[in-house]
Amino acid sequence: MTSNAPIAKRRTAPDATGVPVTLRGVRRAFGRTTALDGLDLDFAPGELVALLGPSGCGKTTALRILAGFETADEGEVLMDGEDVADVPANRRDIGMVFQSYSLFPNMTAAENVGYGMRVRGAGRRERRERAAELLALVGLPGREGHYPHQLSGGQQQRVALARALAVRPRVLLFDEPLSALDAKVRLQLREEIRRIQLESGITTVFVTHDQEEALSLADRVAVMRDGRLEQCAPPAELYARPATPFVAEFVGTMNRIPGTVRGGGEVEALGRRLPVHGSAPAEGTEVDVLLRPEEIAVRAAADGTATVQVATFLGGLTRLGLRTEAGLEVKADLPSREAAALAPGARCTLVPHDGAVLVADRSAAG
């Protein structure tokens, strides 16, 4: 696990209204299942943090504890320095967007958006004006009178976003809000969410199991596993310098290459000695070296030890599926111009890059 201290806010608007949020030692169990096991996480004002992890890792439980829909067995939830553990959900000043939209079916889009203001005693005219303003902000001008069943999934989620923003929340929470939408709408709405979040400057927590979504949207990504935080870092750092083998393999594509630890903090793999990132296991230990597809150079060679199995054109890059003489499957990314000489069936050699590499216990895949 690495430090989860928030980074300085870089992209929020100057009138940012977000507050700092902290989860400290939060523990939550459902019967014998531990959903959160001492989670520590800090969110800077105006920051968008994505909680990423496989199903059952505790990311939704963490979000629901922040929202006040679940209570922590142990630990503290601080919003703007105040412990909100005993504050009910309806008094936390949070806005939440759910996976299944959850619009009130008996209300129009405008009434849904204005609902939070209604329970706060705002007048009909003020609610109508604010709803119109927010529906325009989320790209739905003129849909004030539409009921949820008259709107598409993407439009309903936009209304849900407007509803969450209407009460000017201190914290915005998103529980996999895009997973029920088709790919095109998902991409559009993702950009809209980011734009609006940057404009409003509200501290935002975004739960997702889609790593592309997390990496493209968030200031920082918190990777969770078994109720614990594995690493919380900006997307580029998470990808380039994963703190643990789990993060390395969960985020992006990763090859596991068998290697042997040698002296001097080095590991030998693919015929080369490479420096080990962090502390190296004892000399002679059999390990897996974790290498990304772009960290392996492929050179055509008639006497090479690997064969190209498949080449997938990805635009500027081509991903090669290779098999070594030892039966090891390896993926490597090459500029498409260089890959032209490496058609399926071609022999080649694999050369890992020179940088420090992560190593994992050979038996601990995933």
């Binding site: 309806n90 299944s100 008996n106």
Partner: protein, 298 residues
């Protein structure tokens, strides 16, 4: 390149669909045949006979409104109003009690309790008619077990009254309402409550602004169904109270069997026609409510 002589592929699909649609029709013929024999013919006969007046002297029939006007006046009007009053009261009580019990089941989130209550409700909802009346007489009748045990006769309670009928009707109507309203209550999503809470709403505000408005069509639909069930019930009242509580179903049975006066069959049919009209009104109210409810809770 010459123009293709191959016809476009798309027109084939509508042709196939039309053929498939034609092929489906025979499947519903038995249903419509059943509907015609068991509902259409009796309803037509009922409507026709209700407007035929029999001359007691000659025994000849001629068209007229005498039966219908008699069915809406005097003791018969009292019976019709008595049935409406009993049905309205039991419908309201069954709706409220059934909804409260069903909501408790939904809230409990215990599958064993839910299964037990749903199964029991299914059984009790169908336990009506003469067996139910005898069960009530054995327990709450003048010499019933509970009546003697609690000495209810001293309180002035009598099962053979309007109140007694209300109790007996509720016995099968409350479970029927539980079974009817449970799916609608299940349709109230937890996330609506959470969304309302995140907007700042209290539990009461959620129910006032979202829960009850969403449930209203289902509750009204359920109430309408309860009304119809109570309105059409006959055997329980016939066994328990006979003619002492005026109800239209008892009066129809009396007129048909000649218990009071002979030759009143067409009057009975006119009273039945009144019931059919009220039942149709009930259905006319229920259908749009059910449609709205289905759309909201889908």
């Amino acid at each position: 390149m010459p123009a293709s002589t191959t016809p476009p592929a798309t027109p084939i699909l509508p042709r196939v669909n039309r053929r498939l649609r034609r092929m489906r029709w025979p499947a519903v013929v038995p249903f419509f045949a059943f509907l015609a024999v068991c509902f259409g013919i009796p309803a037509g006969t009922l409507a026709y006979q209700a407007f035929m007046v029999v001359d007691p002297a000659t025994g000849e029939s001629s068209p007229g409104l005498d039966n219908v006007s008699t069915a809406l006046s005097g003791a018969y009007a009292t019976g019709l109003l008595g049935s409406v009053r009993l049905s309205l009261l039991t419908a309201v009580l069954a709706t409220v009690l059934g909804a409260v019990i069903a909501q408790a089941v939904v809230n409990s989130r215990r599958s064993a309790l839910r299964k037990a209550i749903v199964s029991a409700s299914g059984v009790f909802a169908n336990f009506s008619g003469a067996p139910l009346a005898f069960a009530f007489i054995a327990t709450l009748g003048t010499t019933g077990t509970v009546t003697r045990l609690l000495d209810l006769s001293r309180t002035g309670f009598s099962l053979y009254t309007f109140t007694g009928l209300v109790l007996a009707y509720l016995y099968f109507m409350v479970p029927l309402m539980v079974v009817t309203i449970l799916p609608a209550l299940d349709g109230i999503r937890v996330q609506w409550r959470e969304a309302a809470a995140s907007c700042g709403a209290t539990r009461g505000q959620f129910w006032r602004h979202v829960g009850l408005p969403v449930l209203t069509p289902s509750l009204l639909g359920g109430a309408v169904l309860m009304f119809g069930t109570a309105f059409a019930s006959h055997a329980t009242a016939a066994v328990m109270t006979g003619s002492s509580v005026p109800l239209i179903t008892i009066q129809i049975a009396n007129a048909l069997s000649g218990n009071v006066l002979v030759g009143q069959e067409n009057l009975a049919l006119a009273m039945s026609l009144n019931m059919v009209v009220i039942a149709l009104l009930v259905i006319a109210v229920q259908i749009p409510l059910q449609r709205r409810s289905n759309r909201w809770l889908a």
